[in-house]
């Protein structure tokens, strides 16, 4: 009722409130969540917990930023779990024989390569709907995971097993730059700026949104949609590889099942942030808010003492709710 009364008034404040609730519900939810948790659990606002949160969100943030482009282009990518597995086991094993910089570059190259493979499978078969992309990339995920298992022999690899210098990975994982600001946070800021400029200021980035909005219209207006589809999967693969590297640098171990669950979490973060699954509308900044909400929520639920299992239930419920609300907004 309050909403309707606000809309009738049409004064600037009311209009701002309406926009806030309709388009930036996730910001309101973050504010409410922080307020409630800070009152219920004073430990939430301690410096230690906040640093912890910043450390936690690196891997999921990278994967979700990549996934944003795929969803903007009206596709979906379930293979991120497989890519993470493969990148982690290969990169960590190469630190010894190749040195750390080549290992890092090789990891990123594998991510981009896997993304290109996804794009090739989708483009050559002419898959156009999200459902088709979902199953194709699920199959690819199984293939990538199998390669990760075969490469590593199913063994968990640790940092301490190699004597070669791994200072760079240690910095990525747990190093700090200024005060509580970690190295992974700086990486995140740099990547975010690059991706934001790419998405909003370059022709290629705009083409992705237009492709996602309406493929036929985009093609008829001279946009090379095949190229856009290729780009979104390569960007997603690259960002996923970066996420995998940050993750194993922090935990200092890599298992061939490291990425399990990241695909649903990334989709969840993107959708909760407000990028619509219908494609074409959304932004990387929204995804940042979505990831922030998810990480804050799991942190809050941890502090309050809710079991991990119930947190999975909450995530599923939020995913359903977010899609439902997004859908009602369109109608």
């Amino acid at each position: 009722m309050a909403e309707i009364a606000l809309r009738m008034g049409k004064n600037p404040v009311a209009r701002a409130a309406e926009v806030l609730f309709r388009d930036y519900l996730v910001l309101v939810m973050i504010a409410v969540l922080v307020a409630i948790t800070a009152i219920v659990e004073p430990k939430f606002l301690t410096e230690r917990n906040l640093t912890n949160i910043i450390r936690q969100f690196g891997p999921l943030m990278m994967v979700s930023l990549g996934m944003t482009f795929v969803i903007l282009g009206n596709f979906i990518d379930l293979s991120v779990a497989g890519i993470m597995n493969l990148v982690a086991v290969v990169a960590i094993s190469l630190i010894g024989p190749w040195g750390q910089v080549p290992a890092l570059l090789m990891g990123l190259a594998i991510g981009a390569g896997c993304g290109a493979l996804n794009a090739a499978a989708i483009l050559t078969s002419g898959a156009l709907t999200q459902a088709e992309a979902l199953f194709l990339t699920f199959g690819m995920s199984t293939v990538f995971s199998a390669f990760a298992l075969l490469y590593s022999g199913g063994v968990t690899q640790h940092f301490w097993e190699t004597k070669a210098s791994k200072a760079m990975f240690e910095t990525i994982g747990s190093g700090t730059v200024v005060g509580p600001i970690s190295a992974s946070f700086v990486i995140f800021l740099v990547v975010l700026v690059i991706l934001w400029v790419f998405q909003t200021k370059t022709t290629e980035g705009r083409a992705i949104s237009l492709t996602g909005g309406n493929k036929t219209a985009a093609r008829l207006s001279g946009i090379r949609i095949k190229r856009s589809i290729f780009v979104i999967y390569v960007v997603c693969g690259l960002m996923t590889a970066l996420g995998a590297i940050i993750l194993f640098s922090r935990t200092t171990t890599a298992t061939p099942v490291l990425g399990a669950g990241f695909e649903t979490n990334a989709i969840l973060a993107v959708v909760v942030g407000g990028t619509t699954l219908r494609g074409g509308k959304g932004s990387v900044l929204r995804t940042v808010m979505g990831v922030l909400l998810l990480i804050l929520m799991s942190n809050c639920l941890d502090l309050i003492g809710v079991s991990t299992y119930l947190q999975v239930v909450t995530k599923g419920a939020i995913l359903i709710l977010a899609i439902w609300l997004d859908n009602r907004k369109q109608v």
Binding site: L136, G139, S141, S145, F147, S307, V312, G316, I323
Partner: protein
Amino acid sequence: MSGTSIEARSSGSGVGSRLYSIIMRQKALVAIGIMMVVMAFSGTQFYTAYNLLDMLNSTSILLILSFGVTLTIIAGGCDLSIGGILVVSGILSIKLQAFMPMELAIALAILFGVLVGFVNGFLSVHQKTEPFIITLGMGLLLTGVAQQLTDAHPVPAKNPAFMMIGNGDFHGVPNLVIIMVVCFALAFWLMRYTQFGRNLYAIGGDYEVARYSGIPVVRTKWLAFVISGGGAALAGFLLSSKLNTGSSIYGDLTALVVNCGVVVGGTSFAGGIGGIPQSALGLLVFGMLDNVMNMLTIESYYQVLLKGVVIVAIIWLDCFAQKRKREFV
């Protein structure tokens, strides 16, 4: 019938294009044929009544799951929540036995699946959201419920009668196979000979046309989701009974594998094409692949790889077959 066959016939109808259209339509049969030929020369115990029946027995849970899913895919949706329903109903059917007789516990577990299907239907049909992402979220939610119910440990069943449902046999034929055949017959009859089934095909073919033809589109498609949920719950209780335990881990990839299997059989995501026998064949490909790989003692990591390659190859072929029908590319 399917557009590929018509086109193949009109364009020259050479042996090559005829063969191409057969392979495109009967991907599952081709895959099964290849495996049977390979096994004929392998010198293993593949062609024994015991092994074939065992293969059918271990695939029957997936088959029961696939029949309901086929309904939703033919209607132009899909159901990825079946993995979640499978584990929760399996756990419920065991846990509820502490409070009530076995039959009632089983009935409540199946009712639970029906209710989840009802919610899926409400969200994806009545509220017009994307079914695959809504059911994916529902699957995630239910996996969490299953973990919470069991604390992520397997729950053993204590009732021997419960175990006999999934492990007993009737004159040598395992109970699971009998139940699967009954489900198959029911689903086949439903899709082939009832108004409901024919309406589902029409809805999948073109939702708007079906609506303007006077078909109660929302109600019919909704019911497909309800049946899919109920079928998944039935499979869940049978799985628990077969393994004599309920656990939250069995559902992990089941949903995606079953949906893939249905498409492998020839039921297309485009909707309106396919049928129950095709789905049965599609799931049999996966069942037989497992059996064949074990018979040939292929290492488990290579088994994962082979399965992935088969999934990609067949989904790729499915998309490729529809490419020419589309307005673009």
